[in-house]
Amino acid sequence: MESSVVALDTHLDFARRLRTFTHVLTTKAPIAQTPKELIWALNKAKLYRYTPVVPVEKRYPVPLLLVFAIMNRPSILDLRPGHSFVEFMLGRGYDVYLLDWGVPGYEDRHLQLDDYALEYLPRAIRKVKAASGSQAFSMLGWCIGAILTTIYAAMRSNDGLRNLLLLTAPLDFSDRNSITFARWTDERYFNVDSILSAFGNMPGELIDRGAKALKPVENYITNYCKLWDNLDDPQTLEAWHAMNTWVTDNIPMAGGAYRQLIVELYRNNRLMKNELVVRGERADLGKIRANLLTVIAADDHITPPCQSETILSKVASRDKELYRIPGGHIGMMAGSAAPRTTWPHINAWLSARSQ
């Protein structure tokens, strides 16, 4: 009798866990909850200003502009209440702006890195300056966003950029043996033009598959085992749900920009060689004079550390720092340890330079 009760309990518990598991996988968590205001838009790009939570007299006068990658949603910077980089920075007195590149359509297939870095970004920065009333500003670029902010910083070095923060920045493609993507996109195996002529833009699903294929067991099996193991832990469940919501929200990458990324950067490393020509002008990293913080995730498999380290020797900035932390490409900013490690370090570095 007792054994049948235990068996029934186990069965019911298993059914409940399965229900929770399915719910988390098939629903979207509420992410990007911090209140914000749209202050500028151009084509698909939108510039948001987060509602300050600190009185103006206690706020830093230099605004902070966040620039994320062009093939993912920027909501990772504001993942969920209580675990949001944006919320963290607002609470410490920053005037925070976010540039959301939006979702490129077929009509945007010709957009290039040039357009993002020298057409959209400067316009958004103008609005940041107008909205904040400050001519100086700080800019944080993450992943491909770091490429764009670096190009901008190299080509518009007199535009008021005081602090440049690069997070897991894929800038140096010289060590091809350490960069799996560089191996996969080698011109012997990968025909970028045939993909783009078929789709126009690089489909988000293909980018996602590529990123997941770097660590297939972790992404396709271990990740779900972790979810199953933690179904009774509400905090872990909430974190997993929010992250899964972000990860599964894929967006395509504009065809022109994708082609440049593969041909100019992955294959020819033109930015680091100071050979990248943007709008007929050479992007010279030696012209970057802004204070520079480069954050590297030691276990990053998407942008290995070797891609982000060498920028320090190329720039003219006097004030530069490399901060290396354990963690992966996304985990170092959105993982459970980020509020204790990465965020406070960014705040400490930036606060001393935002007066």
Binding site: T10, E37, I39, E119, T180, W184, N191
Partner: protein, 163 residues
């Protein structure tokens, strides 16, 4: 003490005995697979797979595009290319408006060298928000001028993961 009680009252998980074994197996497999995907052979294979798919689907895709184009023409509807061209023109117009907005900013600054005009958009900096569900501001909006749109994006959904 309380924690111990909670632990003991937790229902039995039939997978528990296998967990350590599973994790060890997955770790080993992960290392092997990562090494495998990081080889020239894998790059070559995925490249060939992708090429094969694109080559095989190419004629079908072209046929669909052609028949779609003909159907749209029959119904006097614009093609995808035409809609895309229209969207590009809209973007160009938006850029022109943005340029004009920038010039207006410069004029404002020249008219108000003390900085009052430049700071006009920064007026809200003086009021920190106290409620997470602040309602939409309603500033006047000039056509095409995004600066004064004053739209607020505040989600109020009370999902299961909200604090």
């Amino acid at each position: 003490m309380k924690e111990t009680q909670e632990k003991t009252s937790k229902p039995a998980d039939p997978l528990e005995p296998f967990r350590a074994m599973r994790d060890a197996y997955l770790d080993a497999m992960a290392k092997t697979v990562v090494e495998a995907v990081n080889t020239e052979g894998y790059a070559q294979a995925t490249g060939a797979l992708l090429d094969g798919y694109l080559t095989a689907s190419g004629p079908w895709r072209e046929a669909v595009e052609k028949s779609m184009l003909q159907a749209l023409q029959q119904f006097s509807l614009p093609s995808r290319q035409e809609v895309a061209a229209l969207a590009e023109r809209f973007t160009n117009m938006e850029m022109r408006l943005d340029d004009m907005d920038a010039k207006l900013d410069v004029i404002h600054r020249l008219l108000h060298p003390d900085g009052t005009a430049a700071n006009s958009e920064a007026d809200e900096r003086t009021e920190p928000h106290t409620s997470p569900t602040r309602t939409a501001g309603a500033r006047a909006t000039a056509p095409g001028n995004r600066r004064t749109a004053g739209r607020r994006f505040v989600r109020r959904g009370k999902g299961p993961t909200q604090r």
